[in-house]
Assembly symmetry: C2
Homo-oligomer: 355 residues x 2
Amino acid sequence: MLPPGSTIGILGVGQLGRMLASAAAKLGFRTAVFGPDADRSPAGHVTNHAVSGSYQDLAAVQAFASACDVVTYEFENVPAETAAAVVQSGKPLAPNADALAASQERLREKSLFRSLNIPTVDFWDIETADDLTNALAEAGPSILKTRRFGYDGKGQARLKGGEDAAQVLADLGGGPWILEAMAPFQRELSIIAARSANGDIAFFDLCENQHKDGILALSQIPAAASDAVTAQAREAAERVLTHLQYVGVLTVEFFDVDGALMANEMAPRVHNSGHHTLEACAVSQFEQHIRAVAGWPLRDAKTLRPMEMLNLVGAQANDWAALASDSEIDLTLYGKGEARPGRKMGHAVRPWKSS
Amino acid sequence: MLPPGSTIGILGVGQLGRMLASAAAKLGFRTAVFGPDADRSPAGHVTNHAVSGSYQDLAAVQAFASACDVVTYEFENVPAETAAAVVQSGKPLAPNADALAASQERLREKSLFRSLNIPTVDFWDIETADDLTNALAEAGPSILKTRRFGYDGKGQARLKGGEDAAQVLADLGGGPWILEAMAPFQRELSIIAARSANGDIAFFDLCENQHKDGILALSQIPAAASDAVTAQAREAAERVLTHLQYVGVLTVEFFDVDGALMANEMAPRVHNSGHHTLEACAVSQFEQHIRAVAGWPLRDAKTLRPMEMLNLVGAQANDWAALASDSEIDLTLYGKGEARPGRKMGHAVRPWKSS
């Protein structure tokens, strides 16, 4: 167990890093964050040390890691060489580099699910226009995605079949790609789970999520779910956690197709669909993650009060005064400047009656 | 309403400033803290700007205040000239200087209670040994206190009557003093209340507090209390808040003498007996205070889960590993270094069944 006063290093300086840093401070840890413009960032406002730097500046990354007792991250697109620089510093990286590698490349991610007997939609490896033409003939309506750097609906194109493959690839850019069959799902669920350094696993209740324009809009905890659905989600998360010898919080998102869950993607980190664990649960996803990476035991993550979270995206945050005046709403703002379209500015949590 | 991105300035850099800064950050505010060794302080670890300086350096205080949009404080012993320097900067001080003046001098505090028809124990103004000899003859068993700078049982002496007055004053030092009759109380209660800039008042439930060696050891919320007892506490807090045109969180501590409350002291700030409002209540005392000083509306402060808080004083914090391993306990540590005797290092909150 890392003693209080130890320094938790965080790669990434956005709202997830901010909430991780606050959770670490609550437990008596010092925090350091690393990323572009760290000193003016959401995480930089609440940390001991905000180190501005590029993830490609490996000497800077190594110096940063050397000043920490453990290093974690808030985003899955940490470059492999950046992760390697942390490891070379001799300080632990948690979750480990395998978890990063598996989750930052969609083909590898889906292949991992398949290898662990976790159901997914059908998918095809697309490297050329011919690959896409052939796959589309088989797949019908489907989604073409870049393998890397897609998030919040970016790097994706919906296809009906019959499109000009070369044109589609040129328009989307950023290959290689993966083509995924459309799942006839009724809803999207996510599970947030944590694994401690000694292998204990704790689950949060399932969250039911609604997206708008590719961005999470609403998340409710606990999702109404049968024991069978809950068991599928927990089993999937546990297989990934155990296989990767994972330490920290992992999120797996699912399509619910008539009670059968299909894993869509995973994130080796705290997740937007779990922000309301702060208000709803006996421990937050942020504290649970810090506990895991610090070698502390996990806490029981049970839900105490059903809550729903509304993301405040772009101009929605301009309603801050009305939101702050609604006594039922627990408001969190990320300390960002301009409310640009699509930018996550904060979230509002309120009581929710589970059906 | 101060918009998110505004800067809340906090005088004082201890654990109360730390928890205030975290609450302000949650609402999207920037924070700045001012005090000795601010950069290595509990509050300095979680703030945008930690400014190290002496409260007597009025130019530094004024420069600090000028960079903030509103200034508040975490301790009642802010010197009057320091408060005046903030006011001279043109930035609002909340709670105001009258609240500071009334609460940092025990005779003035008790006199305010009396003037507002809030019951207190009998008390005597002690400036000389003769004053004390005369008062002791009337009072019998009683407590002699310095009027200023007493906290956590410091600056106090218990007297039986018949002591050598001159010797007692020389031993205690730090005059002038106040002599207070002993109250035959069964328990100690505190109420935390807030008043917004537009005069709205919100109350937390009563806390029942147990002290050890003059330091708060345990606090439980909500205290078992009749409507009559609750009404006395609320009425007292409301009178003080309204009289002082107060903005922010105020705490009043009471002796409960057979269901009759006698005001013991007040603090113009968030209070150690309210730390568990973070886990127990719909809003924390810290967020409620920030809302008030930022001109935001208050939230309903209702208790959602009865909780009790154990202070971790001095060596008690050395048990951090055991406390962190008890899944029922929500642990908060203040980021302090050495666990010196009497030093508040953190607190542990756990569910409590109200009787």
